[in-house]
Symmetry: C2
Subunit: 441 residues, 2 copies
């Protein structure tokens, strides 16, 4: 038996005899008929064995072969609307390549810790499969979006020399006798690059040593960060909108089957379009200070919103729950945001920054800003924040030689994937999640 066909390509083989190779996903029987569901990574195929059409050995094997055995099946492809993919195979020959006994992940419900301990096998199940196929599209979608717009990929370093904003959430390593820290953002390295290439982006792993156990935290996650020379806040907002819209459209276009497996309400995603809702921090704060909202927050035991402070999960949910599109909250108080954010010239207590909040309570997916491009203002901010001036020497130099306004943002890929896939926990949106108590497999 030579020359196999991928299950996703079977439509063109209707009426023909083909060979499919893969693994046994499920089986059932009904009298003289036995059904095998075979998966090969590209799809699922229902294989039908009639007692009178195959050898007694093959028919017997169809009854005894274990879940996740690897096998080759040969037979005729025919249309069958009730089968997954719309086609099934009438079995002629079966070859079991490797027999699996007592596969640990049975169709019954397993707890999340058990599943995460078996992530190397759990990847074969339909939900992780669907979600990681969405991740695949989103990652390629991000790359295509920036490549097509002339952005140059500038991979930022993973090892950084200085603990720029305190060491409390940094992973540290011994770097040949020096201390090095794992990156939390490539932004500082992109700013010089955008002065060289105009428009740049990085897209790689980032690290946070947070002792947090919430569903919104991973210690290792992938972030895409564009940075654009001459861009001011309005252009950054537009870039963020365009990126998110293109990714939603791509998933709706290319992940229909995956979204169905995840039982995602795609009507919610179909409403995502430009322009997103825009509100300032002060407008958002007014909503959150409403007594009715306060009462709800108290009733749910959520930490109450403090005027001038950052938003919590409850606050983000309140701000987006009645919206069908993401909300872009701009102009946060300068003193709760990073030192490099450009203060609004019209009101320096507010920063030219944006957080993009996904609808349906999925929370922040993007954070960005215009950066301070004036050397002396940036130096003053570094001193105010009591940051190590020497470590920022090279960063300050970008403001000494032909400085221009510029800005960008960071988007957490797992947050977007979990929003699009409709899963609440980020750990499902990355192949091998790393969390406070999770470093295996």
């Amino acid at each position: 038996m030579k020359g196999h066909t991928d299950i996703r390509d079977l439509a063109s083989s209707e009426g023909k005899e083909v060979l499919v190779r893969g693994w046994l996903y499920a089986k059932r029987e009904s009298g003289k008929i036995r059904f095998l569901v075979v998966r090969d990574g590209t799809g699922y195929l229902q294989v039908v064995a009639f007692a009178k059409e195959v050898s007694p050995e093959v028919f017997a094997a169809c009854g005894t072969v274990g879940q996740e055995s690897s096998l080759e099946v040969r037979g005729i492809i025919r249309r069958e609307p009730r089968a997954p993919g719309g086609f099934e195979m009438g079995l002629k020959e079966l070859r079991i390549l490797h027999s699996a006994v007592d596969y640990p992940l049975t169709p019954k419900e397993h707890g999340p810790e058990f599943l995460l301990d078996h992530r190397h096998l759990w990847l074969r199940s339909s939900r992780p499969h669907a979600l990681l196929r969405i991740r695949n599209e989103i990652c390629q979608g991000v790359r295509d979006f920036f490549y097509d717009r002339g952005f140059v990929l500038i991979d930022s370093p993973m090892f950084t020399p200085a603990a720029c904003e305190g060491t409390s959430t940094l992973f540290e390593t011994d770097y040949f006798g020096e201390k090095a820290y794992l990156t939390q953002s490539g932004q500082l390295y992109l700013e010089p690059a955008c002065m060289a290439f105009g428009k740049v982006y990085c897209f790689g792993p980032t690290f946070r040593a947070e002792k947090s156990k919430t569903r919104r935290h991973l210690t290792e996650f992938w972030m895409v960060e564009p940075e654009v020379a001459f861009a001011e806040l309005p252009e950054i907002l537009e870039l963020a909108e365009d990126l998110v819209c293109s990714l939603v459209a791509r998933a709706l276009d290319r992940n229909r089957e995956d979204l169905k497996v995840l039982e995602r309400d795609t009507s919610r995603l179909e409403k995502i379009s430009k322009p997103f809702h825009r509100m300032t921090y002060d407008e958002a704060a007014k909503i959150l200070e409403d007594p009715a909202i306060r009462a709800r927050s108290d009733a749910q035991g959520a930490p109450p919103f403090t005027p001038g402070g950052d938003f919590g999960g409850f606050d983000e949910t309140v701000l987006t729950e009645n919206l069908d599109r993401p909300a872009m909250v701009t102009h946060y108080p300068t003193d709760i945001k990073a030192f490099y954010m450009q203060p609004d010239p019209a009101n320096p207590s507010r920063a030219l920054c944006v957080d993009v909040l996904a609808p349906e309570g999925y929370g922040e997916i993007i954070g960005g800003s215009q950066r301070i491009h004036d050397h002396d203002l940036l130096l003053a901010r570094i001193r105010e924040h009591q940051l190590p001036e020497e470590a920022f020497k090279w960063y300050l130099e970008i403001r000494k030689y032909g400085t221009v306004p510029h800005g960008g943002f960071g988007m957490g890929v797992e947050r977007v994937v979990s929003w699009l896939g409709g899963v609440k926990h980020l750990r499902e949106a990355i192949p091998y999640p790393r969390m406070l108590h999770r470093l295996y497999p």
Copy 2:
């Protein structure tokens, strides 16, 4: 002055007045004419100022404006075959946005340490610019190649729990009280994934804590690794060939200008096509054992080739120097290769593996193999290598449930970029190189 035009798009503006914004790359004068070369990240534009066509202030500014000042120039675009890009601008208006004084990187020669210390500015120079644009194409080319062939991106973790092959070249970090190590390869994590998705790849940073100062080593570099279920060695060779050919063709197609800046002999690249030269390790060893080669090795002070041992830089050069296409060396001795490589059933002292050597002495760009898919053989090899069995429990499990032959390879992106760009040192092929004594900027 609103609405700017990117320099790369100027061809469609011939005869029109446009605004270009960017930085002063160079200037010169000749009597009543002053020339500015402006760069904006998308290209270089020659701007010509005639004393009688601009105001005395603008003409004076054209003489005094410092290198890397940021500016806006407005004027008419006209064809000029001698100018970079084939067009120049007749200047009407000049606006200096930020005046740069004493830019450190002057057109004179600087030493590599000085340049690396100023990497944040050096990115603006023409060579790094060209090389990183090639990197941009190669990275997108890799993504497109695998995406278009139905591979699913499976980002492998950066944090790994066990020091699988000894700790001597691993970076270690404290992971909430446990020890974690930075990844050297995603392969072990891709093998389970290819059993779920059929064809997968990862493409991310990898780390080697090698105290090596050669031009061929970085402590942090990007590697792409495909892994394919059901694939045996011949299929892996073909995939490697196809990938390399597609990347060479892409660079030749889309990086013509960059290759010219680097003065790359593109006729050498144009010869790269399938099939690559194939030789076994034993055939290669025979070449290296030739007395004339030995004499050359001795004369150059290169470490002599030891039969049964691995190849050194001199050996790789010898094997490829007369070839116009890459060489694929297969069937290395099993005992000098990794524990997971499938022994050749016809001769178990040799492994079903491949190293791809680039021509012109650029050395190894790809290493790959078929993997052991038999559980008991893999277990025996783990024990022979005295590896911690417990740490490989999950990896062994992949051989317990529907195991199938599979294989893949790893390709170092900086090695490919430096080969294509014709630069000898990997440090130029990554935006912010990290080496033994280099963690800044």
